[in-house]
Symmetry: D2
Subunit: 334 residues, 4 copies
Amino acid sequence: MTDVLRYRPTAAELSYTFGGREPVARIKSGDILDTYTEDCFGGVVRGVGDLPSQVCEFPYLNPVTGPFFVEGAEPGDTLALHFVSITPARDWAVSSTFPHFGALTATHTTAMLHEPLEERVWVYEIDKADKLVRYAARNSDFTVDLPLDPMHGTVGVAPGAFEARMTIVPDAHGGNMDTPELRAGTTVYFGVNVPGALFALGDGHARQGQGEVSGVAVEAAMDTVVAVELIKGVATPTPRLETDDHLMSAGSARPLEDAFRMSQHDLVTWVADAGKLDVLDSYQLISQAGEAPVGNVCDANYTMVAKVAKRYLPTVDMYQGAHARLRALADSYR
Amino acid sequence: MTDVLRYRPTAAELSYTFGGREPVARIKSGDILDTYTEDCFGGVVRGVGDLPSQVCEFPYLNPVTGPFFVEGAEPGDTLALHFVSITPARDWAVSSTFPHFGALTATHTTAMLHEPLEERVWVYEIDKADKLVRYAARNSDFTVDLPLDPMHGTVGVAPGAFEARMTIVPDAHGGNMDTPELRAGTTVYFGVNVPGALFALGDGHARQGQGEVSGVAVEAAMDTVVAVELIKGVATPTPRLETDDHLMSAGSARPLEDAFRMSQHDLVTWVADAGKLDVLDSYQLISQAGEAPVGNVCDANYTMVAKVAKRYLPTVDMYQGAHARLRALADSYR
Amino acid sequence: MTDVLRYRPTAAELSYTFGGREPVARIKSGDILDTYTEDCFGGVVRGVGDLPSQVCEFPYLNPVTGPFFVEGAEPGDTLALHFVSITPARDWAVSSTFPHFGALTATHTTAMLHEPLEERVWVYEIDKADKLVRYAARNSDFTVDLPLDPMHGTVGVAPGAFEARMTIVPDAHGGNMDTPELRAGTTVYFGVNVPGALFALGDGHARQGQGEVSGVAVEAAMDTVVAVELIKGVATPTPRLETDDHLMSAGSARPLEDAFRMSQHDLVTWVADAGKLDVLDSYQLISQAGEAPVGNVCDANYTMVAKVAKRYLPTVDMYQGAHARLRALADSYR
Amino acid sequence: MTDVLRYRPTAAELSYTFGGREPVARIKSGDILDTYTEDCFGGVVRGVGDLPSQVCEFPYLNPVTGPFFVEGAEPGDTLALHFVSITPARDWAVSSTFPHFGALTATHTTAMLHEPLEERVWVYEIDKADKLVRYAARNSDFTVDLPLDPMHGTVGVAPGAFEARMTIVPDAHGGNMDTPELRAGTTVYFGVNVPGALFALGDGHARQGQGEVSGVAVEAAMDTVVAVELIKGVATPTPRLETDDHLMSAGSARPLEDAFRMSQHDLVTWVADAGKLDVLDSYQLISQAGEAPVGNVCDANYTMVAKVAKRYLPTVDMYQGAHARLRALADSYR
């Protein structure tokens, strides 16, 4: 029996870590979560005069909705979250530069003696009917419509080893992976580290480029629907994604080649295991048939995704068919 | 007046560096080169028993055809090479693992105490009619057809500063970038460093995955046609690519985030300059509209490509319309 | 009035994170802590047959003693810990290889397809009288005495932003920096992130080489005495160290050049600020007079230290003379 | 019979690459070279108004003296160069910042949108009698004497594989390693890649800090004496250094952890091989007894050195006692 959990957080209920927080609600495998997520600025950057470094207060950045306690989830299980729909909650979104944050600027870790780049805000109009977001240059009159492609930058579970991590950090528990692959129609799998899994999500993007070069996407509050399945007794070492057509593994680390290695290593061994291929045969197949969509190259860890079309693989039935089941559940809800 | 230079190298004429070699032929702007490139193993890996580390001899790896002297090319100019066609010269191709080479193995530089992974060869059938390459597992009977997608892993000009570089190294002069974006229909631009530019090409791939994870693609000898244009007085800092629909910049460096930074930095500043956008406005636009296809994560330098669809840009006329002209020249040749 | 807090933890009181734990005791500025730390294996690796991966259980690794609540410490303050003495608590210590951990092996993040290196344990005799540790090869009869040079691999405070981090991670809050500079006679400064600072320490090493190449030092339980001072209203961005002769800044990040940048950036700006030098003048001075002792190149973040002799600096009085005061306090205790 | 080759280059004879150049002179094993090297700026930066980017012309930077052809040297041999003396040729030296060069600035490869830091020159007085160099701040009146510690930043042989490399690049052939360990009393070993070895040297530093943070040391022209020995039939994979007390291996790569890995890997396997230790026993010994002095973190490749005191090793006789022989030869010359 599918229940629908409708949950809209108050500002005070927002969370800024994965781990270290009490759940805001409970949900069971087979249920649907219908919720709302605030944007990465907590909704306070609303115009070009709202400089994030002035209107936001560290560490109250990148709020997530949750965590949600999944009934029966135990360490060693896998949590599958299928994104049924991700819909911008407003008719605008924002982006910005942020002092010493992004791929083409000195940062806290890539520490240099440069002054920060100019902090600047861009406001995007969202046209949900035509599925467009409108970019407008700040220092000239150039504008252009880009495809609306809603996704969540941040989704994950509580980490293990008694840790609590800022929501802006991506790691084995998920978190701020900032991959455009996390859109509606995608199932994401996480290894469960603590009882109840304690998943949370946020950081909606109306769209983003690969790598999130400037460090900030087209940031948007979202109305989001997620279908939930708990897969007992199956472990997942790093976040994995599945669509109707593709399998993916995400790796988050620095330097970027390690994120690449982690993602490719997981996909190679996952395919080998599930497809009954010798590991080197899988390595060879992924080397010729695989893709490597970049997630983020700006966060505390960088994220790379390894991706392969299912049609190139031996018959595989990942997670006992969870994606197909969740897809059907999603269809029944719409 | 377009001339066609037909050149098929003897084994002794193959080159193993960019720079440090006399030209094999001369060509002028507006001409077409119709040539042949040997595969990265020099054609000696022909079956699963031909282990590359045994049948190949360092440094006689990754031969290129050339260099070609472009009449009138001087440092500070740009050489545009348009790939008219890239056609596998045989009905088979090969791939392999290679000791201590690839992204998921200890290497010479990522030095570790592990023994090398098993060296293994895969032979692919090429079906040019149906545009397929057939993968066959070595340790099981799984086979699958992958799309034929011919490209050149290695193309470039002589480097500056009196350097000569092994053909397996990608850098500002091009070289072994191993990006699948270098297929027929693409124009690639190189800054000229020495009189005559001295371009060369090789390392054909019947296809490769993004990142060339195992270090070796589906390696194939190629019959290749290139249209040549010299753009006087315009410098190019890093290899750039153009298709009918996209602009791209390639960056080659380690760690991988630096290759990413170089490629994105060049694309951001190139678009800003050509599109009369403020640099931060360009940074913002590329951040939301850009792609970042991975080239290689296995060579002496890693290669990333920054890519954006022209339809999202202000009206731009790159290199005085060279791509359109070369496209027309290519059409006239077919 | 100096009080001495004598605290010896039970096994159940050991902590495995910085942050997320209640304090085990309270201490005030000007007091001395006389305590005991277990080794990184929790004391269960006692002979060459005790393979760590078999006798230890994740995440119960690298236990620290604490956390200690410092009266009056608030975010924005600095905590100074002066190591009065660090004395091996036993007459032996151990080291090992550990599967997929260390600088010369594939790891979880530098993910590769290699099997782990052999797991092997070395037992060292400690001669406290002659200040020696005795290395003995496992596969031959070679032995050699190395200088005893006791230090703590792990010391830090609770992180900010509601985080809790495994004790094996070094970051801005300190943690598992694994620098041989953390020996008796050194004062270490940490920025306070939470009320009470909540410092903890552990992971004693009878000695270690620079970089801790194999990932495991000469691991020893320690009897350690620390003098504590709270410096109100002075912030510290990254762990800093001071001895009678040197100033040091520690940076922890990946890749290793970022740890280097962070440490050098902090030292350059710290010296500029305290010594009333222009930043570029400080950059120049550190560039010619500075040292860069490697901490670890094996942990979740790598640690580099930037170091300069005080005799090369303008007259500087760091932290209002805290080191000299703590030094005197230490002398009074011995 | 020891001959002394006295060679003082004209400006036109200076070389800007390793490889790709004809030898300037020939020398035989057992001989002594008494020569002069110009500073990295070619001697044209002589005062604070001489900004390097204005008075120097790329690629005429970092000139080396040589190359010298060593009689009988063949690929597979090892060339040993013992630095008998390194003496500043003038009573002044210079340093500077340089646009987009150095560890704490955006660079060509760590590409960012920042403007370059201010370009500034510092002139150092050299006091050879008291063995001091005097630093003087530019924006205040602070001055300090630092120890004179002359060294060569650049020394190497021609690379293999038909390559020619700019002198500013360090790699397996040596080059611009910029390690302070390369001082008088040190023997450096290079694998020979081409007939005659073709060694060259330059880039004297009156002193430098570890890491050469700003990218430029205390740059000085040098009068340098080198004793030469050719070791037939013994290969050397990466530059190695030997003093009376220490063995060292140098690794040059990016990211910095790879330079660390290469240097440690070579030292571990070199000691294992020469000392008849099992590789893991050597790994363990180096992990506890080793040092890791940083070379440069600013050049095209970064350089790390792995170092261990001979007194901690099994009796080893490296390169058939070459260092001791060269030491004796050096003594006979002084």
